[in-house]
């Protein structure tokens, strides 16, 4: 058994705990530890990518107990991708935060490490209850990070975010309860096996449980009508936190893929996921449309980006709900792009806001700006990528999604909002850009702080990643297609996880 697999969870946990023990460490040491830990995560994520490329499923049996009795971690291509994305994203967030945002409150780095532990755990676990636990870890850390730095907007948004997610957690437990009550197991593979052979009379109950899970994951993923907390929460958060949150909605998406396509999708004849997918489709489309409208109506760049997150969620869930292997691969590619770019924009809003004389990132304020050339160019390039214009990853991913979906009968329902939201994004970003970089006077030089090279470089590298994702799209796509293929072979997953366990030690009590 390869111990490297537990590393993405243990490393941030150890780092976070160590930072608490050494609570008097000065900020410099905290930063070095945090950056070091995140770098290690990147390395292990790369290992995970390679490992998953070689072996379809790598298992890690915690406590050396046979699944489904013990908790098992499962590494496949999908989780490897998510791990790498998280690691890279968090690295940039930590780097960006280390330029000063981390001092606005206490224990930023420790909390961020715990957050990473939760996210990575959610991506790796093969146990539904353990998923709940990791959800809670990542949520509580996200509550704390959201409030990092204080202030009224954060308090209000934080309160809403927390209460809503607590309601979501209650629903999660309910759904888990129903599933356990009917199947007597929690391991995802075992659940899949039992659900596929569930008695006819239990099926509606199981499907109802899947609908509850849709709401649970929908809250995380920001599915309409569960998303209203998001715009304010994301725009209230401090920039690196918001950027890290770009991955959070994807955790919801990931969980839906895992649970609905694998756990509820084993029975190839009439999989139990048909109901939930049927509900997901229209809801995701409306989400997508509302996201587009919100982008147009946003009053600040952070809010705009928050709605961009919603657009991306809409696209992801709509494509996922069509239950098509190729489309899933395409939407995974889009996931990479949208996570990267929404993170870029949260950072960019902060970066530019710092050099505007006033108004921070509000559109309604016309304010002199320093470093117009550099910031303007960065914004332009980022906007092109965000608007899914060529030659960035957004273009490739959107083309792939549209292409793969065109084989479906109702593809136009997807096409119309995707293309329309694209237009709205172009309109909104061109307004924002021209209002910020063209309209005001150059900021007087003596008032202007020097450009923060590290922050700018962080943003630029992230944009460069989006660009190289387009340039090297083919190998990435091959990997994603393989990942999607695995998702659509749930029987392989079940076999790999459960091995020779065929219901021994199960007892029936009347």
């Amino acid at each position: 058994m390869n111990h490297l697999m537990i590393m993405p969870i243990v490393i941030p946990l150890l780092t976070g705990a160590f930072l608490l023990v050494m609570y008097r460490y000065n900020i410099g040491r905290q930063r070095s530890l945090s950056i070091g830990s995140t770098l290690l995560l990147v390395i292990f994520a790369v290992w995970a990518i390679l490992q998953a490329g070689v072996t379809d499923y790598t298992l890690y049996r915690l406590g050396n107990w046979q699944p489904p009795f013990g908790i098992v971690l499962v590494l496949d291509r999908l989780s490897a991708i998510m791990l790498l994305l998280t690691a890279l994203l968090s690295l940039f967030c930590v780097l960006y935060a280390s330029r000063g945002s981390d001092r606005e409150g206490s224990h930023f780095h420790a909390l961020l490490q715990f957050q990473l532990m939760g996210i990575n755990g959610a991506f790796l676990t093969g146990d539904l209850f353990n998923l709940f636990v990791f959800f809670e870890v990542l949520l509580i850390a996200s509550y704390a990070l959201l409030l990092h730095g204080g202030g009224r907007a954060r308090s209000r948004a934080g309160l809403h975010y927390v209460v809503i997610n607590l309601a979501g957690s209650a629903l999660f437990l309910l759904a888990l309860g129903i599933l356990y009550g009917l199947t007597g197991t929690l391991n995802m593979a075992d659940l899949a096996r039992v659900i596929a052979t569930a008695p006819e009379a239990d099926l509606p109950l199981l499907k109802a449980a899947s609908l509850l899970l849709m709401v649970v994951f929908g809250i995380k993923a920001a599915l309409l009508p569960l998303l209203f907390w998001l715009p304010r929460a994301y725009s209230a958060a401090s920039a690196p936190v918001a950027a890290l949150f770009a991955i959070m909605t994807k955790v919801g998406f990931y969980s839906m893929v895992r649970v609905f396509l694998v756990v509820f999708g084993l029975d190839e004849g009439s999989p139990a996921n048909d109901t939930v997918l049927a509900w997901l489709w229209p809801m995701a489309l409306v989400t997508l449309s509302l996201g587009g409208i919100g982008v147009l109506g946003a009053s600040s760049l952070r809010t705009l980006t928050a709605y961009m997150v919603i657009v991306s969620v809409g696209i992801l869930l709509a494509t996922m709900s069509r239950n098509d292997e190729q489309l899933l691969a395409a939407s995974l590619f889009y996931l990479l792009h949208s996570t990267c770019m929404t993170a870029v924009f949260f950072l960019l809003a902060d970066l530019i806001g710092r050099y505007r004389e006033n108004g921070y990132d509000r559109f309604s304020v016309i304010s002199p700006l320093s470093h117009r050339w550099i910031l303007g160019t960065v914004f332009l390039v980022a906007a092109v990528s965000m608007a899914s214009l060529p030659p960035f990853s957004g273009f490739v991913s959107k083309a792939w999604i549209l292409q793969s979906s065109s084989r479906l009968s109702d593809y136009l329902w997807l096409w119309a909002p995707i293309l329309m939201s694209g237009l709205l994004i172009i309109a909104a970003l061109s307004r924002a850009g021209s209002g910020w970089f063209w309209r005001p006077e150059q900021r007087a030089d003596e008032a202007a702080p020097a450009l923060d090279g590290a922050r700018t470089a962080t943003v630029c590298v992230m944009i460069a990643i989006s660009f190289s994702l387009a340039i090297f799209a083919q190998p990435v796509m091959d990997y994603l297609e393989a990942a999607a293929r695995l998702i659509y072979e749930p029987s392989g997953y079940v076999e790999a996880v459960l091995g020779d366990y065929v219901g021994q030690s199960r007892e029936v009590t009347e």
Partner: protein, 936 residues
């Protein structure tokens, strides 16, 4: 490969320009920039010319490189007659524009930026015309929109420039998205994006169901780019750009991209009724609108812009007709238009710079001061008017003759000839006007610069070259056609065609008549312009830019109001949405479900349980009823918690009972701490409607849970837990199976769980650190009387209780693996005992006596638990693999040592640290020294 080079050379040029711009601007910097910028386009032009022989042999040069084969996107280039014609126009006119701009931008800092952008733009245009792969073409298509956006907004301090730029970007960008859709559909139909394949699949395309949609989307892209009505609105506002930009982008090149696309796809998609009607009607409308508006423009550039629109409509019309001859006419006119429109724009720029105005009502009689300009301009102006011997004359006659050949559909046979004649008439009128009004028509009026500032003669060079070319084409149409245009026409029809015979054209009677009418009518129209202008002034003044801005503003307002209405900051509403979302689908799913009653027999009713259940329900309802009075509600909540505890105890879950109980008290203490800062009562602010809605939601939720519970409880249980019962002692070394699950089978969950607790505590620490509760802090102090802060009797008993409680928690801790208990409960007991010290002795008193800070305690707990897990690596087992052994020591007796105990120690430590950190920080808020001070 070198075709690809052709496309990307200007990028290299742009980079060179960028580098040259980095150098400190000297007195000659514009010249230097221009020279640098000229290199790449010139090489391109030479390369293109060198290809001419191969093109003339009818060869289509194709070069492909794989990029993203998954989506059919490849770096593929194609050079055939059509693309050669366009590429040559783009590079040729581009070179001349650069020369022109060298003088136009003389002395301006912005020159460098212009040269960079113009070369980028050239790349984009070359990419469009030279792409073999349609998706690849789209990359450049969007790039033209983008660079055009930057160029229109070039003088960004002007509001008009910004608005014009945005407008063009939104319209052409939107068109680009439509085009993306169209091209993707086309690619799906054909199975490839290679133009070669697409052109070979005509029948497949035309017969596909998706053909109408595909065509519409593609045409939407083409029309927006080529400023076809009603998308033409952006073009006049693009005139905010510097004149070289207008001359290049908005007359000669970019706007032709849409025409190029239609011509390119004509063999594959043309020749259908739909194609004909969509394109010809659009073309006709555009032709007429452009021509009509142009006549009344006073701004030279405005007039030229609308005339451009009109000519674009004309070419579109010809493409729509679709016959080989019409296509020939279209491409011929397209070339001719590029040759006469660019110099006219250049003229406008010269006049603008010389006089400081572009208003023809003020600019008059320039022939005296600018005779050379007048002479050179005469040629393109005449060509635009379509005077005999001029290039425009021929192309117009080609149009007229084609219009007469239209036989189907019925409506078009007479309408089109009349229509084009009228439009021709207008074009004569505005051509005459621009020439006469600028160079003659009396004396200038109130010009900012008069006499005009001297302009460098160099500006006339590109003008002269273009005018000569235009003249040349007019004089030798056949040669022009034969050498370049015929190849392009063949590329658009994919067949070998006979050459167009211009002598035949000159013999035709109909076109000549129509030309005549147009010419005479135009002149008459121009002479009668005074009254016509007067009438035109009566018409409402419509500014497309304002309309566009208004539409934008309205959309934004709509978006804002919609979003604000939905996302209105009301948590209650969000929660209601979530509840509805949870209830509605399940309700929908389970309507008519009959399986609620499972097969298992019901168990008999236990009166004690019923009693407990009733009290549980009553207390919960009591909390809901009395929630306005907060402290009583809290007491009732404690009762609920107590009875939940009793339920756990009753139903064989002692561990749960212990945990629930400890947690409950801590939670109530925390809530009471908070309550001292909050109002003591909740106002009654919910209306009856809101209460009714909430009651319905609550009722549905409760009913749902009850039904689910009933359904599951009446079914036989089938579970994996037999394994736990069987392996708890042999595999986990403990008889308390729940505890063994917690620290061993599912120890990973527990690790996550204590992490949550730890994070919660650290979070509370972090965000209460700077919380200021000024008004509350003042009231703290040492009161006498009954409310003394630290009652002696309480203190005495609490102190005594502490060691005993610690002993009890040690007991619970050690017993946990085999009997109810464990690290978590032990931790809570310890924490509660220490909390008692806080309550009895006060925060400061107790804090001084703590052995350690709490945050390191949390960290240490987590480290202990994790380290225990990691310990199993040493012996080669996975994380959290437990080991235990029973040791029989002489004298002492049997001892069990289990790593699970160490893990539980981590749990214990974390729980103590976390609970106390939360409490101490809440308590801190009350003390005078509170805010800003770190506790724990």
């Amino acid at each position: 490969m070198d075709i690809g080079l052709l496309v990307f050379l200007p990028v290299l040029g742009a980079i060179a320009s960028l580098l040259s711009r980095l150098k400190r601007p000297g007195p000659d910097h514009v010249q230097r920039h221009a020279l640098v910028a000229l290199i790449a386009p010139a090489i391109c032009l030479l390369l293109l010319l060198s290809y001419l022989p191969r093109i003339q042999s009818g060869e289509a040069l194709v070069y492909s490189l794989s990029w993203v084969p998954e989506i059919g996107l490849g770096l593929a280039f194609r050079l055939d007659g059509l693309s050669w014609l366009f590429a040559t126009l783009i590079t040729g006119i581009g070179c001349l524009i650069i020369v022109y701009a060298r003088y136009y931008f003389a002395g301006k800092d912005t020159a460098g930026r212009f040269f960079i952008l113009i070369q980028l733009f050239m790349t984009a245009m070359l990419g469009i015309v030279l792409s073999e792969n349609l998706l690849f073409m789209l990359v450049f298509w969007e790039l033209t929109s983008l660079v055009s956006f930057l160029l229109i907004g070039f003088t960004w301090s002007s509001r008009n420039a910004r608005r014009g730029a945005r407008m063009s970007l939104v319209i052409t960008g939107g068109g680009g998205l439509a085009l993306l859709g169209g091209i993707l559909l086309l690619g799906q139909i054909v199975g490839s994006y290679q133009i070669t394949d697409v052109l070979a699949a005509t029948d497949t395309i035309v017969s596909d169901d998706r053909y109408p949609l595909t065509l519409s989307l593609i045409l939407l892209g083409a029309f927006t780019k080529s400023a076809q009505a009603p998308f033409h609105l952006w073009l006049p506002h693009a005139m905010a750009a510097p004149t070289p930009v207008s001359a290049y982008l908005h007359s000669a090149t970019m706007v032709k991209a849409g025409l190029f696309l239609m011509a390119r796809l004509h063999p594959a998609m043309g020749d259908t009724e739909l194609w004909f009607s969509l394109i010809t009607i659009t073309g006709m409308v555009t032709l007429m609108v452009g021509a009509f508006v142009a006549m009344f423009m006073h701004d030279i550039k405005g007039l030229l812009a609308y005339s451009t629109i009109s000519h674009l409509g004309l070419i579109t019309l010809l493409i729509g007709m679709g016959s080989e001859m019409a296509m020939a006419a279209a491409l011929f006119h397209l070339t001719v238009h590029a040759l006469f429109k660019a110099p006219l724009f250049m003229m406008a720029g010269i006049v603008d710079q010389a006089t400081g105005s572009r208003d023809m009502r003020n600019i008059n009689g320039l022939w005296r001061t600018m005779p050379a300009l007048m002479l050179i301009t005469a040629v393109p102006a005449a060509a635009m008017a379509g005077l005999p011997l001029m290039s425009g004359y021929l192309s117009k006659k080609m149009l007229f003759s084609e219009s007469l050949l239209v036989t189907a559909p019925h409506w078009a046979t007479t309408l089109i000839p009349v229509w084009v004649t009228v439009a021709g008439l207008f074009s004569v009128a505005y051509s005459v006007r621009i020439f006469h009004n600028v160079f003659f028509n009396g004396q200038p009026v109130d010009l900012p610069h008069w006499p005009p500032r001297r302009k460098p003669a160099g500006m006339l060079i590109p003008l002269f070259i273009l005018a000569s070319a235009s003249l040349l084409v007019g004089l030798a149409p056949q040669a022009t056609y034969d050498t370049v245009i015929h190849l392009a026409v063949m590329a658009t029809s994919m067949t070998h065609l006979p050459l167009y015979d211009f002598s035949e054209l000159s013999d035709a009677q109909g076109p000549a008549m129509m030309s005549m009418i147009a010419m005479l009518g135009g002149v008459v129209f121009y002479l009668a312009r005074g009254p016509l202008f007067a009438i035109h002034r009566q018409l409402p003044d419509v500014d497309a830019k304002n309309i566009f801005e208004q539409i934008m503003q309205q959309s934004i307002r709509f978006a804002q109001s919609l979003v604000y209405r939905l996302e209105n900051g009301s948590l209650q509403r969000y929660l209601a949405f979530i509840l509805v979302a949870a209830i509605a689908p399940a309700l929908w799913m389970l309507t008519g479900y009959t399986g609620w009653q499972g097969p298992s027999a019901l168990t008999e009713v236990n009166p004690m349980v019923v009693f407990g259940a009733v009290i549980l329900c009553l207390s919960a309802i009591g909390v809901a009823l009395f929630h306005h009075q907060r402290l009583p509600a809290l007491l009732l909540l404690s009762v609920t918690g107590l009875f939940v505890t009793l339920a756990f105890a009753q139903f064989s879950a002692p561990d749960l009972a212990l945990t629930q109980l400890s947690v409950e008290v801590m939670a109530v203490v925390i809530m009471m701490l908070a309550l001292s800062f909050l109002p003591q009562t909740s106002p009654r602010e919910s209306g009856a409607g809101r209460i009714a809605r909430d009651l319905v939601l609550a009722g549905l939720a409760g009913t749902g849970i009850a039904l689910f519970a009933y359904a599951v409880l009446t079914r036989p249980a089938e579970t994996i837990s037999g394994y736990f019962l069987a392996n708890s002692v042999p595999g986990g070394g403990g008889t308390n199976v729940v505890n063994v699950i917690l620290v061993d089978f599912r120890g990973f969950d527990t690790l996550g769980e204590i992490t949550v607790l730890g994070i919660a505590a650290v979070a509370v620490f972090a965000f209460t650190r700077d919380l200021h509760l000024k008004e509350r802090v003042a009231s703290a102090g040492t009161a006498k009387g009954f409310a003394e802060p630290h009652p002696v009797i309480l203190q005495m008993v609490s102190r005594m209780a502490l060691p005993i409680a610690l002993l009890v928690s040690a007991f619970i801790f050690l017993r946990g693996h085999n009997m109810p208990g464990g690290g978590f409960i032990a931790g809570l007991v310890t924490a509660v005992a220490l909390t008692l010290q806080y309550m009895a002795g006060g925060l400061v008193w107790a804090q001084e006596r703590m052995l350690t800070h709490f945050r390191p305690l949390i960290g240490a707990g987590l480290l202990i638990a994790t380290a225990t897990g990691l310990g199993s690596w040493v012996v080669g087992y996975p994380f959290l693999t437990s080991a235990f052994s029973h040791m029989d020591w002489p004298l002492i007796g049997e001892f069990e040592l289990a790593t699970a105990l160490l893990f539980d120690l981590g749990v214990y430590t974390t729980v103590v640290g976390a609970t106390l950190l939360i409490l101490a920080n809440l308590g801190k808020l009350m003390t005078v020294a509170g805010p800003g001070q770190e506790v724990g």
